[in-house]
């Protein structure tokens, strides 16, 4: 078991290294650096000014060396201004004496670098943003998983019945509707004071506010989560994943219900309720468990869309901002977080599998 986890950690490191290098390579292509220079300097700089800006801010050296600097295995760049004699460098913070600055300042030294778009340390930004996303994901999971399991089990326990057909249709429809479609539909139907349900409800006097729900989750960041501001983003994420998990649960449940031991239990005269809850459920949950763990990475992509749509400044939103502004070090930090989330959830899913299914052993 210990060895297995170690090996997984090794794979994780290697993946993170490869991915960050790919991201680093792509963000450091010249057109992207040019974009960076223009967003940081002036949107209408000339080509000569761009080159001079890049050189002054440490983007001039060979790419592999700069990747080393970011990792912390190569010493950070320093540069002396030929006119003023002021020394600037990667490891020299504002107001710091160049002589006292450390030689290395990369990932290995715990320095995630500097976000150009936010004008702040990456570590300062990403923590708070992750926390916001964690809250959103927790709510989405809390709604999605129980709902999906209940739908799946109800549909799968009597395959082909009317309940099965209608619940399956619902599940397929929700999986087939991506977040950017369902989110917009929700906003139009439930969060507009001029269209959808809200004006009707307001006219009937059923709601006091102008809209049934808020089409923007921004207030959830400062004033806390309420039913009013968080329902739509949570529903948008949860609906998409829910259908998929429900389908998996149904298939697994339907298969278990045809097994020999279920028939034996029936012949013994067990009640249907007992058969489902005591005999079928545990075995039927093995397959969905993996799927649920795999939903974490999917949720990460979901929050990118939902956070942008509902203006919730979490991890997904940060990723979009970093990518669209070519904020190299912020983007790299985001990739590390993403790799970490994906591989850790996989690890949990593998370990959890062992506990659910005694036939599998981790070598």
């Amino acid at each position: 078991m210990g060895q297995f986890i170690l090996r997984r950690a090794g794979v994780m490191l290697l993946t993170a290294l490869c991915l960050t290098f790919v991201v680093f390579f792509l963000t450091n292509l010249f057109p992207n650096l040019e974009k960076l220079a223009k967003t940081q300097g002036n949107a209408r700089m000339t080509d000569a000014e761009v080159v001079s800006w890049l050189d002054r801010n440490g983007y001039g050296g060979p790419m592999i060396v700069r990747y080393g600097e970011w990792l912390g295995v190569a010493p950070g760049w320093t540069r002396e201004d030929p006119e003023t004699g002021r020394i600037t460098g990667r490891c020299i913070d504002q107001g710091m004496d160049p002589a006292e600055a450390p030689r290395f300042c990369g990932l290995l030294q715990g320095d995630l670098g500097y976000s150009t778009v936010s004008d702040a340390e990456v570590s300062e930004i990403i923590g708070g943003r992750l926390q916001l996303t964690l809250i959103l994901m927790a709510w989405a999971f809390g709604v999605m998983v129980p709902a999906a399991l209940i739908i799946g089990v109800l549909a799968g326990m009597r395959e082909g019945s009317r309940t099965d057909r209608s619940l399956s249709t619902l599940a397929i429809a929700s999986t087939a509707t991506p977040e950017y479609v369902s989110g917009v539909i929700f906003i139009v139907l439930l969060a507009s004071s001029t269209a959808g349900l809200s004006p009707i409800l307001a006219e009937w006097g059923w709601i006091d506010s102008r809209t049934l729900f808020l089409g923007s989750a921004r207030s959830a960041m400062e004033e806390g989560v309420t039913f009013w501001n968080f329902t739509l983003p949570v529903m948008t994420i949860a609906l998409y994943g829910m259908g998929y998990i429900a389908r998996m649960t149904r298939a697994s449940m339907a298969e278990v219900m045809t097994a020999q031991y279920i028939r034996t239990a029936r012949l013994k005269g067990q009640s249907f309720r007992n058969i489902v809850l005591k005999h079928a459920l545990r075995n039927a949950l093995i397959a969905p468990f993996t799927v649920i763990m795999l939903q974490f990475p999917w949720l990460l992509t979901g929050v990118v869309i939902v956070e942008t749509l509902f203006n919730y400044n979490g991890f997904g939103w940060t990723l979009v901002q970093a990518a669209s502004n070519n904020d190299i070090e912020l983007l790299l930090a985001c990739s590390i977080v993403a790799v970490f989330v994906v591989l850790v959830t996989q690890l949990i899913s593998d370990i959890g599998y062992v506990f659910l299914n005694p036939r599998i052993r981790l070598a």
Binding site: R44, E49, S52, T194, S216, N326
Partner: protein
């Protein structure tokens, strides 16, 4: 407003001439105000020159009650050295700390802020700037002529990348050294600075009223105001998270020279999608928009917000770049101009929210605008001209940014060219990469902001070889006429030259420039002095909310 007692000039010979022109109907009131206040005549005196009482004529500014908090929807971008600001949004936040020497008001007049008054000599080659007494920085230092001079020297430093003030300083910058010309900026005494141009220049006041001209402490030129927080303004920044929000609160440790009403202003960034702004308005997340665009103008009005509109010289140009064949052929450029009806671009591009223009990038609200015969649209003649140039089979690739009005306007141009028998291909580039090559696309659209004078735009965008010359237009006659126009304070004389400049623009088919945009802003009931400004300025010191 009851603030700003000032001792401006009572009159100026050229201003009196303008007043006669106004009375003769040659000038609109707006044009008259722009020109006479630029010479140093106070707004009140200017109004009296044309026989109007300032109290009834001046743009109405109410006196809001003290206190309150206001939330403004606006992009929050990373701040930097103000000289290199490239978005008015940056200046709207920093204006709470860093004020300006002069501000331009929505009625076209210039008002002194840190300057009490200024005056030009007769040929507008020398300016005397008088500092408003009694202003201190929030670190206790007094604001003096030394600060003004230090800022001018900073603005003239064209060796700083992205310093757009250097272009606005014009001939004050020595072309050999790239910094301020020797003796151009002189401190006469504690309260007076003298600016001397080698030749007449009428753009100084407009230049220092522009948003990158935020005035820093004399020792802090070239720094980011967020790092030190030192300025003359009444506010301080307490939170600044790029892309999320910025919060200003009244600086209680600082005695502000004027009046500031609100206790707190929060700028909320809801991204670039107007649909998200609208959703935010529905959710009650802010009280005032930075700008309302396109169809959302009607939507915001429909949910009961107050609409504020201002006609500007902001526009979109769709220009071929003459360094690329076949656009080096004037017949091709003329054919393009003949095929496109500005009215169609106005209707399809911005829902008719503006007025049509005449492809020469000088607006009727510009003081020196000369009226030319209306432009003709003739699709058959266009096709014939194109055939004559031998380019009937050429595939015209028209590039635009991926947004709302610029893309739609460019699409309208493309559709009209197709109607006239051109082969047209459209390329849409996302906003994040569009600006990398904006000056070199062979045929593309660019938005241009409002500028106070027609010559300012022509100098920035159409003079041979200047940095923002995106059309590749290089014409010795045009440059020579422009030099001449730059030195003429007299309106009629300048207009004669402008007429020629404008017709060169049309004859050479330099650009399509189909309309002037009206700008809109919306705010809730009870927000005071939040009216739209032609240059998107928000002066947080003036804002207020009804008690």
């Amino acid at each position: 407003m009851t603030i700003h007692p000032r001792t401006h000039l009572a009159t100026h010979p050229v201003a009196e001439m303008y007043a006669d022109e106004y009375k003769a109907g040659k000038l609109s009131r707006r044009e008259f105000m722009t020109r006479s206040t630029a010479l140093g005549v106070s707004a009140a005196a200017a109004y009296s020159l044309i026989g109007l009482a300032p109290s009834t004529a001046q743009a109405q500014m109410a006196t809001p009650p003290m206190g309150g908090s206001l939330r403004i929807q606006m992009e929050v971008r990373a701040l930097k050295d103000p000289r290199t600001f490239d978005w008015s949004q940056m200046a709207n936040v920093s204006r709470g700390i860093l004020e300006y020497l002069v501000e331009s008001r929505a009625d076209g007049s210039f008002n002194g802020v840190l300057l009490e008054s200024w005056e030009a000599n007769e040929d507008a080659s020398q300016y005397i700037l008088r500092v408003r007494p009694g202003i201190t920085f929030n670190n206790g230092d007094p604001f003096t002529a030394e600060d003004v001079a230090a800022n001018f020297i900073g603005w003239c430093d064209s060796t700083v990348e992205g310093n757009s003030m250097a272009a606005r300083m014009g001939a004050l910058v020595d072309p050999d050294t790239g910094v301020a010309r020797e003796g151009a900026i002189e401190v006469i005494d504690d309260m007076t600075v003298q600016i001397t141009y080698p030749a007449s220049d009428i753009t100084l006041v407009a230049g220092i009223a522009d948003y990158p001209a935020a005035v820093q402490h004399r020792d802090l030129i070239g720094t980011n105001p967020l790092d030190h927080g030192i300025g003359t303004g009444a506010y301080r920044v307490t939170d600044y998270e790029v892309g999320v929000s910025a919060r200003l609160e009244k600086n209680t440790d600082h005695t502000y020279w004027g009046e500031a009403y609100l206790d707190e202003i929060v700028f909320i960034d809801l991204g670039q999608d107007p649909a998200a702004w609208f959703a935010g308005a529905e959710a009650g997340e802010f009280d005032m928009t930075y700008e309302t665009v396109g169809e959302f103008v009607d939507l915001f009005s429909a949910i009961g917000w107050t609409q504020s509109e201002v006609v500007t010289a902001a526009t979109v140009v769709i220009r071929p770049n003459q360094n690329n064949a076949p656009y080096d052929d004037v017949r091709v450029r003329r054919a393009i101009a003949l095929a496109v009806d500005p009215q169609v671009c106005l209707d399809l591009g911005i829902n008719g929210q503006g007025v049509t223009a005449e492809n020469h990038h000088v607006a009727p609200i510009h003081p020196e605008y000369a009226e030319l015969p209306p432009i003709t649209v003739d699709k058959e003649a266009a096709a014939a001209l194109l055939a004559e140039a031998g380019q009937s089979d050429f595939v015209f690739e028209i590039t635009s940014i991926d947004d709302d009005y610029r893309r739609n306007t460019t699409d309208a141009v493309a559709a009209q060219l197709r109607d006239a028998g051109f082969n047209v291909e459209r390329t849409v580039i996302p906003g994040s990469t569009f600006w990398n090559d904006w000056t070199t696309y062979s045929f593309s659209s660019t938005n241009w902001n409002h500028r106070e004078l027609g010559v300012i735009i022509l100098n920035l965008a159409y003079r041979s070889g200047v940095a923002w010359n995106e059309s590749g237009f290089a014409n010795a006659e045009f440059d020579a006429l422009l030099d001449q126009a730059n030195g003429i304070a007299d309106a009629d004389a300048r207009r004669e030259i402008m007429a020629r400049l404008q017709s060169i623009m049309q004859e050479e088919g330099v650009t399509l420039q189909p309309y002037w945009r009206s700008l809109f802003r919306h705010y809730r009931d009870g927000v005071i002095n939040a009216d739209m400004h032609p240059k998107f300025e928000i002066n947080v010191h003036y804002l207020g909310v009804a008690a």
